[in-house]
């Protein structure tokens, strides 16, 4: 039983974390919100007048905003599709009896531990470079014209790189979920003559549904913030072909020094991420009750 004294002590122990996180949340957030209503550019010093919704208006009506939104959607959607489908297949495969499972699993999950700047540069130079990259060499070896990935299919190339990084994450989580499946249920259905497909469809997939939802939600949070991979490969180009929302805000705020505009973009990014976060929080909250 918790006494009054221990309650007070507990509060005191939680306080530093709460105060820090509260500060980390409220101070920069309210600054972003405040700046987003000012005309505030670091290279044009002035008195930073209040301009209402002007920054939002210019940010949203700029053609690069529409491009960035479409790219963000394609990037997140494309990577989610590849990693969820691929991750499910990988997890099903790794769950089968085999030799050297530990080593194979280590090989599959390794890309997740490669830092984003390294994977961006390695794929860009060693694989996708049309002259010296492996894909270029292979294409030439087979008599094809090598593809210049980052000028012909820039967004697809980035989707590929990011999928390579996140496929292990999806695999690992789905594999964990799959291993918690009661094997007796599977055996019973097998004895009753259920085919492999119906076993997958009616037993495994419903069991995985929750894990898949978690993968989708968590990855979406991270994928909305993809930055380093774009910075080291394409710098958002050619044109705005690979500029996502995060990168666009980075360009406005730290390259064009437009604090007001960058902040307006920041507010939009926060709202977007929150829509996803609400669903994720609900799932986690439910789990906490159990």
């Amino acid at each position: 039983m918790a006494t009054k004294a221990s309650r007070a002590a507990a509060r005191l122990m939680i306080a530093p974390s709460v105060i820090l996180l509260l500060g980390w949340m409220i101070v920069p957030l309210s600054m972003t919100l405040y700046f987003s209503f000012l005309r505030y550019n670091l290279i044009m010093p002035g008195d930073n007048p209040f301009v209402g919704w002007e920054n939002y208006y210019w940010f949203v009506t700029d053609p690069s905003f529409k491009a960035a939104m479409v790219n963000t959607l394609l990037l997140v959607g494309g990577v989610l599709f590849i990693t969820v489908v691929g991750g499910t297949l990988f997890a099903l495969l790794l769950d089968q009896p085999m030799w050297g499972q530990g080593i194979i699993r280590i090989m599959v999950i390794s890309p997740f531990f490669v830092m984003p700047t390294v994977s961006g540069l390695v794929w860009k130079n060693m694989f996708m470079n049309p002259v010296n990259g492996i894909f270029g060499h292979l294409a030439k070896g087979m008599g094809f014209e090598p593809i210049d990935f980052f000028s012909e299919i820039p967004l697809l190339s980035i989707i590929g790189i990011v999928s390579w990084q996140w496929l292990p994450f999806a695999t690992l989580i789905l594999l964990t979920a799959l291993q918690s499946l009661d094997s007796e249920q599977l055996e019973a259905s097998e004895m009753d003559g259920a085919s492999w497909i119906s076993r997958f469809w009616f037993i495994m997939l419903p069991h995985l549904a929750r894990a898949i939802t978690v993968v989708v939600l968590i990855q979406t949070i991270f994928l909305l913030s993809i930055f380093a991979e774009i910075l080291v490969t394409t710098n958002g180009g050619p044109g705005t072909a690979t500029t996502n929302l995060t990168y666009l805000i980075y360009v406005s705020s730290l390259l064009q020094f437009d604090v007001g505009m960058g902040s307006a973009g920041g507010v939009i990014a926060i709202i977007l991420a929150n829509i996803v976060a609400i669903f994720l929080m609900r799932m986690i909250g439910k789990n906490l009750d159990a």
Partner: protein, 276 residues
Amino acid sequence: MARAVNTSRKSLNTAIAATLGLIMFFPVLWILILSFKSEIDAVRSPWQVLTAGWTMESYGAVQERSDYFKHFMNSVTISLGSTFLGLLIAIPAAWAMAFVPAKRTKDVLMWMLSTKMLPPVGVLVPIYLIFRNLGILDTRSGLVIVLMLMNLPIIIWMLYTYFREIPGEILEAARMDGASLREEVLYVLTPMAIPGMASTVLLNIILSWNEAFWTLNLTAAQAAPLTAFIASYSSPEGLFYAKLSAASIMAIAPILIMGWFSQKQLVRGLTFGAVK
């Protein structure tokens, strides 16, 4: 599984899985190979690369050209610093929430988690300006603070789920036997909490080592950890494949090895207990 598995099916599984595993791992394997080749051989066709002679020269060259060791130490300082500072703040909080739960504990936990959902780019401008005005742009202590705050919710959550698994009866038994609070924490709780804390530390070192938004935006030449240092290779050094490979291998090797040991904790830490 109690089912008998026939050998041919097992061989087939192994063959398919090993092939896919190799494909996923290939980029890492390939830069490992390239890092031991000379600059001229590294840009040849794959077959010529494999048959070319081996050399260690790139590893030396990377250090000489750009003081690699400094950036490596920056990474070490930043990731260890932010993890242990976070642990220091998180342990009391997680301990209190796990063992003295109150009505609002769940809300507090959920709220802490919600701070993790904040996209970093949403607060890029204010953090950048605060850092500039405080004069901590491009310092290691600045990054330690930001990464600690980024990961604090994960640390608290992981510790909380581990602490909750410690049965309360054991603590009660210790108390009945006349253990003081200090003894209880020191001799009963700590030994049982150490594996959980170790996992938390491991995952958080990995996360902060690879963090590439704040490290890229808040550092320049001085405090740049390896993420930012490697980014400077995007041009024109990116054309030096052997050196880029050597720098990359040194940057990812420690964390790759740690990652292999933390697969289970990764699932727990990154799904906040939603998948077990």
